[in-house]
């Protein structure tokens, strides 16, 4: 049971291409693999894997509702709420569901017992399969702000498998940490440009903070400068793979096709990359 997460400091580096093709390459070699799309604000692994969905479940969180007959408008709930999700007026209490982080603070503090928790739907989880590869994705409903509860539920419901590939959201914020936390290895996908390097440094900072073993895949490796390679060498970071730009791959991507159908890099080299990582995890 090996869990590998794929992340990048920002979007558009080819993270989903690496994650989906890695999962597909391993599955084709006969491994028992689940691909988990944790980029819940914009899950797009399905565009490439084209899974057959067999199950859909809803994700909900608990939010406060106020019984105005019991409420004395004392204001304690709003005072305690760190997220400013409550406003107490003279004769009303407003709850801003999208700001609520479901901490439970207000229920406990209310002296009149006027607050109850009600479930509120914020997203869904779909699961199915794609050519033998198990597929699962979380989707946050548009307009909702709290991605971590969807990611949490996704990771809880994840089916057991020999190998789990987690497609993390871009960036380094809470939803990313939720996605990559408790995985065995983190692949950071980057581009060799000054901006790419800057985002990579942030992602490396996160990986080190989380004490996750990690390595870097440099995408479009021939379309930039040497600064990323110099940085990795200096920081003693392993470069797992360098993938040069290939307009056929870019075209396949834009058409929603798998890069592995076109280029052996996305089959053989990604499989080797896995073996390399797995060998080290097992040690």
């Amino acid at each position: 049971m090996i869990k590998i997460s794929v992340a990048s400091g920002k979007g558009g580096t080819g993270k989903t291409t690496i994650a989906t093709n890695l999962a597909a390459a391993l599955s084709k070699k006969g491994k028992d693999v689940v691909y988990l799309d944790c980029d819940v604000e914009e899950p797009n692994g399905r565009i490439f894997l084209k899974p057959l969905i067999s199950n859909i479940s809803r994700v909900s969180v608990l939010v406060p509702r106020i019984d105005l007959d019991k409420c004395t408008f004392c204001g304690e709930c709003a005072e305690t709420c760190e997220f400013n999700a409550l406003a107490v007026l003279e004769d009303n209490v407003m709850v801003f569901d999208s700001l609520c982080h479901n901490c439970g603070g207000c229920y406990h503090i209310c002296p009149e017992n006027a607050i109850k928790e009600v479930p509120r739907d914020i997203g869904e989880i779909q699961s199915g399969s794609s050519n033998g590869l198990k597929f699962m994705e979380g989707q946050l409903t548009i307009g909702e702000a709290q991605a971590p509860p969807v990611t949490k539920q996704l990771k809880k419901d994840m089916p057991p498998a020999e190998i789990t590939i987690i497609d993390a959201p871009p960036g380094t914020s809470c939803p990313v940490i939720e996605a990559v936390g408790d995985t065995d290895y983190l692949i950071l996908v980057s581009e060799p440009t000054p901006f790419g390097l800057n985002d990579l440094k942030l992602a490396v900072g996160m990986a080190r903070e989380l004490k996750l073993p990690f390595g870097v895949v440099i995408n479009r490796s021939d379309l930039g400068d040497d600064l990323t390679i110099d940085y990795c060498r200096k920081e003693d970071i392993e470069i797992l793979l360098q993938i040069p730009f290939d307009h056929k791959i870019a075209k396949a991507y834009s058409e929603g096709r798998m890069a592995s159908d076109i280029s052996p890099i996305y089959r053989e080299n990604l499989y080797e990359l896995y073996e390399n990582i797995a060998g080290r995890i097992k040690q």
Partner: protein
């Protein structure tokens, strides 16, 4: 009439701040007594989310009839409106000028929020 004005500074000579939730100060002005009070909102300037809710909650506790700012987000608007205050868009000068406009009834009142929330 009680006015609440988002302000860049703590005095009547300060410029009206175009942002409501993240304005550093609010001036609460009583047109009858011609006295004013200052609310320090600086804690809210860098709030992660809910700045509008927090700011409007402290403004509303002074029971203003009219709130003046350059922009209101949807949540702030909801709280202010829920309290019965009217909201006016104006941020083209000093707090004292905004007060004059309110007194002479030259402000335009809004019916809805005019900017999107920051962390929607």
């Amino acid at each position: 009439m009680i006015l609440a004005i988002s302000s860049q500074g703590p005095t009547l000579e300060s410029a009206v701040d175009p942002r409501f939730g993240r304005a550093p100060y609010f001036i609460i002005y009583n047109t009858e007594t011609e006295e004013f009070e200052t609310i320090n909102n600086s804690e809210n300037v860098n709030a992660m989310g809910g700045a509008g809710v927090q700011a409007s909650q402290s403004v509303v506790s002074h029971k203003p009839d009219v709130v003046i700012s350059g922009n209101f987000g949807p949540k702030a608007f909801q709280v202010l409106n829920g309290s019965g205050a009217r909201t006016a868009l104006w941020a083209n000068g000093k707090v004292s000028e905004a007060i004059e406009l309110a007194k002479t009834n030259q402000l335009e009142y809004t019916q809805s929020a005019n900017v999107k929330g920051h962390w929607q």
